[in-house]
Amino acid sequence: MRIIRLTVSALIALAALSSCTQVRPWERGYLAKEEMAWDRDVLERQLNDHIFFSKEASSGGNSAAGGGCGCN
């Protein structure tokens, strides 16, 4: 399936990138800032996932699905 091939290609490309970039521990201050987190506000992300799940057909993406509800 095309989407699987694209994903595998992206993963391979990123794995290749991993051998090229070196950021030393003392250079990671900006990366550790709250606003650089994947989930800066976990409750906000959970709320948005739940609201959009009940209003739209799509779900999933960066995590395995959680519990269901009667809202969709």
Binding site: Y30, E35, M36, N62, S63, A64, G67, C71
Partner: protein, 385 residues
């Protein structure tokens, strides 16, 4: 804004980034945090042109969210999540054609629908030098729905903690027992299962940039129809695939961060979608931060979607006029105001969501008259101790 070490939670979405001097690449939280968020979102009323008879009001929903995170010994963390929702209002029941042959909506709940949902999940996570592993169990209950679920996920760091691979798995077992089943000839008791797996790879690109790509696959089986729609029959299994890419970039001169997320989704109901959301986190000073957000979403229609119910069609054939299966696009925009007072952090959020068939990037052959619009307000508080 104070600097906090990023932590990997149940939702497997964090790259492990070690602050200088920290011995462990992944570390459990060093203090406990109690978080609470209260939200209200209210769907816009429909118009008389859309609903020729009956009430025009839709849903009004209050949400309470609680989370407790605490270190557990030296290498473990405890996570407790609890949510409660109160819902009242009406929703589309079936769709017919007006004199001009255009679809119009007939709403359910002449006297209004009220429902409440409560959810509790408890999880733990173990942190090692090279990664972490954990899981959670959860239970939710509504007047007409019950779900029990389990999540497991683990992360492994490579390349001096610049690369993180995460695997996740979840399974949910749901029971559906619609209210007024005999009165409205609805199904009495059905069940649904969902199993999901996800893999993600996060990569530090340079000292101000990180990137993540993730793939999730979900298989649903059982009763997938809406028992509250008069003419709704969906296949009894569905496969969903979603591919996400996320970027985080810190602008040093501006003292702000850009968050960009894109998701492509596809399922075998025939629906595919694109989601793009952008956030800009601007530090005002050490205490205040402002973060505008913008989201665009567009989906195609399910193969069996119809905007006018055909009551001559047997329910053995897939069919639904549920607007959530139609082709449409949606914009939402909002603002977050964040105040960090050390142990206390408060966040205020205001958001407006508007769905319209004109916003769709997909062909719209049968626009739904029931697309939703709403305003959401939230106030959250975090206390660390």
């Amino acid at each position: 804004m104070k600097t906090k070490h990023s932590r990997s939670l149940i939702a497997l979405s964090t790259s492990a980034l070690a602050l200088p001097g920290i011995a462990h690449a992944d570390a459990p939280p060093t203090e406990s945090t109690l978080s609470y968020k209260i939200s209200n979102y209210q769907e816009d009323d429909l118009t008389r042109a859309q609903v020729p008879f009956g009430e025009l009001g839709r849903y009004d929903i209050d949400v309470h969210q609680f989370q407790y995170v605490s270190p557990l010994g030296r290498d473990f963390a405890l996570f407790i999540d609890a949510n409660h929702e109160d819902m009242s209002g009406a929703s589309p029941w079936f769709s017919t054609a007006n004199a001009a042959g255009e679809p119009v909506i007939n709403m359910s709940g002449a006297s209004g629908i009220t429902d409440a949902r409560s959810e509790l999940s408890i999880g733990t996570r173990y942190y090692s030098q090279n990664g972490n592993f954990g899981g959670a169990v959860g239970y939710s209950e509504e007047n007409d729905y019950r779900a029990t679920y389990v999540n497991l996920s683990g992360s492994r760091n490579f390349n001096n903690d610049l690369t993180t691979v995460t695997l996740g798995f979840s399974h949910s077992a749901d029971d559906i027992f619609p209210t007024d089943a005999e009165l409205f000839n609805r199904v009495r008791n059905e069940d649904k299962r969902a199993t999901s797996a996800a893999v993600s790879l996060s990569q530090v690109i340079n000292r101000v940039t990180t990137f993540q790509t993730a793939l999730s696959i979900t298989e649903q089986s059982g009763y997938l129809s809406d028992p509250y729609k008069l003419q709704d029959a969906r296949p009894d299994n569905k496969t969903q695939i979603a591919l996400s890419n996320s970027l985080r970039y810190f602008f040093i001169e501006a003292d702000g961060a850009l968050q960009a997320n894109y998701r492509y989704y596809r399922d075998d109901f025939g629906i595919s979608s694109h989601t793009l959301d952008l956030s800009w986190f601007q530090n005002i000073n050490r205490t205040f931060q402002i973060a505008p957000v913008l989201r665009y979403y567009s989906q195609s229609a399910a193969e069996f979607y119809t905007n006018i119910d055909d009551f001559t069609k047997p329910l053995t054939e897939p069919q639904s006029s549920d607007y959530r299966l139609s082709a449409f696009g949606a914009f939402s925009g909002g603002i977050n105001l964040i105040a960090d007072f050390g142990d206390w952090t408060t966040t205020f959020t205001a958001e407006r969501y508007v769905a319209n068939e004109k916003y769709s990037v997909y062909a719209v052959n049968q626009p739904s008259p029931a697309l939703v619009q709403f305003v959401r307000l939230s106030l959250g508080v975090d206390y660390s101790f």
